[in-house]
């Protein structure tokens, strides 16, 4: 792999034994992802809302103009013969750092069993577990923004079991704290969320591979607060409160094509997910929207997206996505509140083109036409994603 001409310092002609390990050989691998965006948003992202759906600030279309995206710093290594560990810091443009992942995972249980503990992305659905630098678009699809607070992560315990079959068949279960949207307030004595899922997958010939899954996420909310819009500086009068249970069902399908399994020059990835969200509890609308106070609320909403990204020549990809949401009708009691869909069916269409200079750098342009209600927003993004240092292998 190494050009002799380029590496004069390399001991090219002289055969050597595998390099002797230096004193830093036990240092964990360090992977840094730098990303930044330029966003041209027709409407003010601080007043962004989707009628019928309580949202977190993360669902916002982003900040206008130049901004840092999420920069990620991941440190990971085998701990000993039985454990693997990973820590991922996420550094946002507003100078806040958060722990995105911090988990330990078994490597030696065998029999297809893996246990993970700490903070991790839940294994529900397909996109939920994917780190943002591997996404095909700048942003998450609408149902993930509305039902999972963009991406569900929590502190907890995960058990996965892989069946000893030729077809990939994995069963997973998670017990989590329940502190993040759609959960809130760490209900049930800090066991406020649990998940169960099954993932299948296989190949069709050398050129096609697929994955499919069914997932369930049950969460409890204790005084979960959200803002009537995605403004992060939210006043009390603009705050909705929910107490109760949320049950989310997800069906996902991924299909990837690459001629003879070589994705270097050409490849196509297609994915679609359907999410159904059931709420049952008490909703207290923000006083700026309604004076009804706390009311019983039960309803089912759903959403789906379908997207495809096609690499037609080495380095260049084009992607299309459609996503939409269907709110339930919460009844007259919630007229004018966040839960009132006001007759809208929020939907969005996106197109993106990106250029991958090497496995480590990518530049993307994306256009969203978002008909999420109230106004039609035209959103343009330019994004760079670059990775430095070690680079952990990507999930399927």
């Amino acid at each position: 792999m190494i050009r002799k001409a380029l590496l004069l310092a390399a001991a090219c002609a002289v055969p050597t034994l595998a390099a002797a390990a230096g004193s830093n050989a036990f240092n964990p691998d360090i992977a840094l992802v730098l990303s930044g965006t330029y966003a041209d948003l027709q409407h003010d992202p601080n007043s962004y809302k989707i009628p019928g759906f309580p949202l977190t600030a993360d669902a916002s279309p982003g900040t206008r103009g130049f901004g840092l995206g999420e920069s990620e710093l991941a440190i990971y290594s085998n701990i000993d013969p039985d454990w693997y560990g990973m820590l991922t810091f996420s550094m946002a443009g507003d100078n806040t750092t958060s722990i995105e992942n911090a988990f330990v995972q078994t490597t030696s249980l065998g029999n297809g069993l893996t246990v993970k503990a700490g903070r991790f992305f839940s294994g529900v659905g397909y996109l939920n577990e994917q780190h943002s630098h591997t996404w095909d678009f700048v942003d998450m699809p609408l149902p993930y923004q509305a039902f999972l607070g963009t991406q569900y992560k929590d502190d907890g315990l995960q058990v996965r079991w892989l069946a000893p079959t030729d077809m990939f068949m994995e069963f997973g279960g998670e017990w989590m704290n329940g502190s993040n949207f759609p959960a809130g307030g760490s209900g049930n004595n800090g066991r406020g969320a649990y998940a169960a899922y099954v993932h299948f997958g296989g190949d069709v010939g050398y050129s096609n591979s697929w994955g499919a899954g069914l997932s369930y996420l049950g969460t409890k909310s204790l005084d979960r607060t959200t803002c009537v819009d995605t403004n992060s500086n939210c006043t009390t009068a603009n705050t909705d409160t929910f107490n109760g249970n949320t049950k989310l069902l997800i069906a996902d399908l991924v299909w990837k094509w690459a001629p003879n399994g070589n994705d270097y020059d050409q490849n196509l990835r297609f994915q679609a997910e359907y999410l159904q969200n059931r709420n049952d509890g008490q909703f207290t609308p923000a006083t700026s929207t309604s004076a009804v106070g706390t009311q019983p609320y039960a309803g089912t909403s759903n959403g789906w997206y379908v997207q495809a990204a096609y690499q037609f020549i080495h380095g260049w990809r084009i992607g299309l996505r459609h996503d939409q949401l269907h709110a339930d009708n919460p009844g007259a009691a919630f007229a004018g509140t966040t839960l009132d869909p006001q007759g809208y069916t929020p939907s969005r269409n996106s197109v993106m083109v990106d250029y991958t200079n090497s496995e480590f750098s990518r530049i993307r342009v994306q256009y969203n036409r978002a008909d999420t209600g109230l106004v039609t927003d035209n959103e343009w993004y330019v994004q760079y994603i670059m990775s430095l240092g070690a680079h952990p292998a990507h999930m399927f």
Partner: protein, 302 residues
């Protein structure tokens, strides 16, 4: 939930009813290691080869089918030296298989058994896709296969001690036939000594070292960076002053850049198998080197 329970039962049943497997389940990363394991383990191993000869082993997705295969492996036979770094670590994390984790007997890396070439003194991504442990494409020198065969035989004896005698006997037989074949190939390949050859990708260091070939340039401006028009034009100019005899590319690589250079300079473009199965003549390990030498000798006569 009922269907879920049924499915679960079905899975358990499928596990129980699986036909009596061979003694050792082997997951070979590349075809040459699948072929070598076949030579050494005969009918005692059930071998799954994760990549086919026309796939680029640098760029494989961590597909669910591979995870499912790795889950049941007793032994992985891979190149190592970070060739599979884009996919194997993810498979190993997801397979829930303790036997094949790093440092266990079931983790066999061929590059740990041989002397590595082109180990860089320092690494920098600006130099392209380089491997800190050295050039991983060791299978282009049959003497490396011989070394790996000895180590792999020893490893099979550890993994499956009940059949240790069987592996030892097969290993000794293979070594005898292999050493004879190497002597024959070295004789046949004598005309290639000192011949200047252009490569598509720097995957041939070990072949060059074995046969005494000289690298006259690479189509890729930097390892893993696709050939560009500008770089090819430069290379053409260089070759005008100091000509090469042929340009070689691996069967899994796109032939267009090699064909272009061939048309521009009049030197033949030669497709080489690179691994077992890459060309019709490279049906097994013996065929791989015979076919490689035959093709280069034929090009030399042009």
């Amino acid at each position: 939930m009922k269907t879920f329970a049924k499915l679960f039962a079905l899975v358990l049943l499928a596990g129980v009813l699986r036909p009596a497997a061979a003694d050792v389940n082997v997951f070979a990363c590349e075809p040459e290691w699948g072929a070598l394991t076949q030579e050494l383990a005969g009918n005692k191993a059930d071998i799954y080869t994760a990549t086919n000869p026309l796939q680029d082993p640098h760029h494989i997705q961590a597909r669910p089918s591979l995870i499912a295969k790795l889950r049941r492996a007793d032994l992985t036979v891979c190149t190592g030296a970070q060739l599979e770094i884009g996919w194997m670590p993810m498979l190993m994390l997801q397979a829930g298989n303790d036997k094949i984790q790093n440092g266990r007997p079931g983790d066999f890396q061929a590059t740990l058994q041989v002397k590595m070439l082109e180990v860089p003194a320092s690494v920098n991504r600006a130099l392209g896709d380089i491997h800190p442990d050295g050039n991983p494409h060791i299978q282009t020198d049959p003497r490396n296969i011989g070394e790996v065969a000895k180590a792999l035989t020893a490893r099979l004896e550890v993994i499956d001690p009940a059949n240790a005698g069987y592996y030892a006997a097969r290993g000794a037989d293979f070594t005898k036939r292999w050493d004879a074949a190497i002597a024959r190939w070295e004789q046949e390949a004598k005309p290639l000594r000192g011949v200047r050859v252009v490569v598509h990708h720097d995957g041939w260091a070990y072949l060059f070292n074995w046969l005494g070939l000289q690298e006259a340039g690479a189509l890729e401006p930097k390892p893993g960076v696709p050939p560009s028009a500008g770089h090819l034009a430069e290379l053409k100019q260089e070759l005008a002053g100091n000509p090469a005899k042929m340009v070689i590319y691996a069967a899994y690589q796109d032939s267009r850049s090699s064909d272009w250079l061939s048309q521009q300079t009049g030197i033949p473009a030669v497709k080489l198998a690179f691994t077992v199965g890459g060309t019709p003549g490279a049906g097994d390990l013996f065929g791989l080197y015979q076919d490689t030498i035959d093709r280069m000798l034929k090009a030399l006569k042009k």
